[in-house]
């Protein structure tokens, strides 16, 4: 494996700028790594020709000293982001062969800033899943393995391809999306850093919609600094997304290394679950000790509606999904299965085009929105959502700067191990992350330790709206203090 793929995004950026390295060399090294890692099934589509073209243009700009903030840096793109002229499938059969005639706002900003696209990354179908096993194109295999075992593990989901590709050093960073934990949970499972920014921070335009009031774009990278660099390019207001917020994008990287002395960190007692493993509790305590050691003040807080977040999510998200996914009807794009009339054509197309989990969620969403059930389910869930948000507002109102929790209830599990009998078993993976989406807040997952099998465990920090800078400062303290974990050596 080439040394060039071991660089962090920030190191590569600095080496390119100092002309110690060319974008072409860096891209070629990553393209070779991508090709060699096909057994992991991280990429749904490799775009080597485009990558080399973009790298060449980057080298020309770097020579003229006109390079952008991400000039020449090879990235992977979750296949939920529409990319002009490059197949975008959302890992669904129903969008097989769909070639967008437009570019998502977030990716267009990455290219504006000079980044190089290596290809499109695997995910759970329509981002619905926590293990990347619902992809119509097969599961992603994590580069991590339990010590002394070669059982194939999941990288988490839905941004499983993004997290696995970053952990396997196939790209310097990757785009991801998070509706209930889809950035933070896979980041925690793969020892990477993932941030879901505040709702409205990044434009959702051109990203295949799942649940529009919860979806947010964000990066997955190997370091906190790299995440800060990528988010700056991804964020910003966009006239094409009316929920994107008109607010200047700060230089997030400048927040790295800022003192956290005197910052108030809330520890919510409701996150201490019955039957929580001792390892997760110990991880949490380490996080507390590291932040306290850097001068932060630790306070106990209460978020009383934590327990209701996941059930409310499994009403709101499927409801919005059932509406968003109504567009896949076999008429305008994607798969069509013929029928004797238009209704049969719709029904057969959708039965064949959507996988099991997606069909299940559309049906749940349809049910909770249907006449006679709307008030009992959907309206009640939206009211509970107000209560969840209020819990956070009260904590922040008392001067809490950020909240520290575990990112996931366990380390990564094996492919096929969870959720086959009861879908709810899989849903419980998002128990610590989903509150953040319900309240629209920013949350970051950062590696904090290892479990008994040598697998990474992550901590989560939750911030005030639009205070991603605080999260980067705090996460970097944890990153520094946490035991260093070597990246998995290549076995694939």
């Amino acid at each position: 494996m080439s040394e060039l793929t071991q660089l962090t995004l920030a190191e590569a950026r600095d080496a390119l700028k100092a002309r110690k390295l060319s974008a072409r060399e860096l891209t070629d090294a990553h393209l070779a790594a991508v090709e060699a890692a096909r057994p992991l099934n991280t990429f749904l589509k490799e775009t080597p020709d485009r990558a080399r073209e973009m790298a060449k243009a980057s080298d020309e700009r770097l020579v003229r000293e006109e390079g952008g903030p991400l000039e020449g840096l090879p990235l992977g793109i979750k296949d939920l982001y529409c990319t002009e002229g490059v197949e975008t499938t959302a890992a669904s059969r129903i969008l097989q062969n769909f070639v967008p005639p437009y570019e998502s706002t977030v990716t267009s900003q990455l290219w504006r800033d000079g980044a190089v696209m290596l290809g499109k990354l695997n995910l759970d179908e329509f981002a619905m899943g926590s293990s990347n096993e619902t992809s119509a194109y097969g599961p992603v295999v994590s580069p991590w393995r339990r010590s002394g075992s070669d059982a194939k593990l999941v990288p988490g989901g839905s941004s499983g391809g993004s997290a696995a590709a970053v952990a396997a050093r196939l790209c310097l960073g990757a785009t991801a999306t998070d509706t209930g934990g889809s950035i933070r949970q896979p980041a925690a499972f793969t020892g990477t850093v993932g941030i879901k920014p505040t709702y409205g921070r990044c434009s959702r335009w051109g990203i295949v919609a799942f649940a529009s009031s919860l979806d947010q774009a964000g990066p997955i990278t190997r370091t906190v600094r790299d995440a800060a660099i990528m988010l700056r390019s991804m964020a910003g207001s966009d006239p094409k997304d009316s929920t994107s917020v008109d607010r200047a994008v700060p230089d997030y990287e400048a927040a790295i290394g800022r003192s956290i002395k005197g910052k108030k960190i809330g520890i919510p007692k409701e996150y201490r679950l019955d039957g929580m493993s001792g390892e997760i509790e110990a991880l949490w305590q380490s996080g507390i000790a590291w932040l306290r050691g850097a001068g932060a003040e630790i306070v106990d807080i209460s978020l009383p509606h934590t327990k209701q977040a996941l059930p409310a999510y499994y009403i709101v998200a499927p409801a919005e999904a059932s509406s968003n996914l109504a567009r896949y009807d076999g008429v305008r794009y994607g798969l069509r299965v013929p029928g004797k009339d238009v209704v049969e054509m719709y029904e057969k197309t959708r039965a064949e085009g959507f996988g099991r989990e997606v069909r299940r969620r559309i049906m749940i969403g349809t049910y909770v929105l249907s006449a006679g059930y709307y008030d009992a389910y959907y309206l009640r869930a939206q009211k509970v959502r107000t209560l969840i948000k209020r819990d956070f507002e009260e904590a922040f109102g008392k001067g809490v700067d950020a909240i520290l929790t575990p990112a996931t209830p366990s380390a990564a599990f094996a492919i096929g191990e969870k959720g086959s009998a009861d879908p709810v078993e899989m849903y419980l993976n998002d128990i610590f992350t989903v509150t953040v989406n319900m309240a629209g807040l920013p949350g970051i997952a950062v590696p904090g330790g290892i479990d008994k099998d040598g697998l990474p465990l992550g901590l989560q920090l939750i911030g005030r709206p639009f205070d991603e800078e605080m999260l980067f400062s705090l996460a970097q303290v944890i990153e520094e203090a946490a035991p260093k974990m070597p990246w998995p050596e290549r076995w694939w």
């Binding site: 070639v99 005639p101 709702y199 004797k340 049969e344």
Partner: protein, 95 residues
């Protein structure tokens, strides 16, 4: 609340998803597992609580009422599974 097989079929039809007879029982079990799970919300007091309608409190943006896009019919139909000129082709709808 739990759903019976007739309800499963009705939801599937409302969702425009064809289900085979042999799938109904299994779907019923899965949907009921999820509905059981969300049942926890029933005990929460939501009296007088406004439902969340906007994640971040903000005024909906407005813009000038003018044409900013269009005249791209070729692109719009480019991905259609069946098309003729600039039309999407569907099975006969009107007798």
């Amino acid at each position: 609340m739990s759903v019976d097989t007739a309800t499963v079929r009705r939801i599937a039809h409302l969702s425009r998803i064809a289900v085979k007879d042999e799938e109904v029982a299994h779907l019923q079990t899965e949907l009921n597992a999820i509905l059981d799970f969300v049942e926890q919300l029933r005990g929460i007091d939501v009296e007088g609580i406004e439902p969340m309608t906007s994640v971040m409190p903000m005024q909906l943006k407005k813009r000038q009422d003018e044409v900013t896009d269009g005249f791209v019919a070729d692109e719009i139909v480019a991905n259609a599974p069946r098309r003729e000129d600039h039309f999407f082709v569907v099975p006969k709808v009107v007798e």
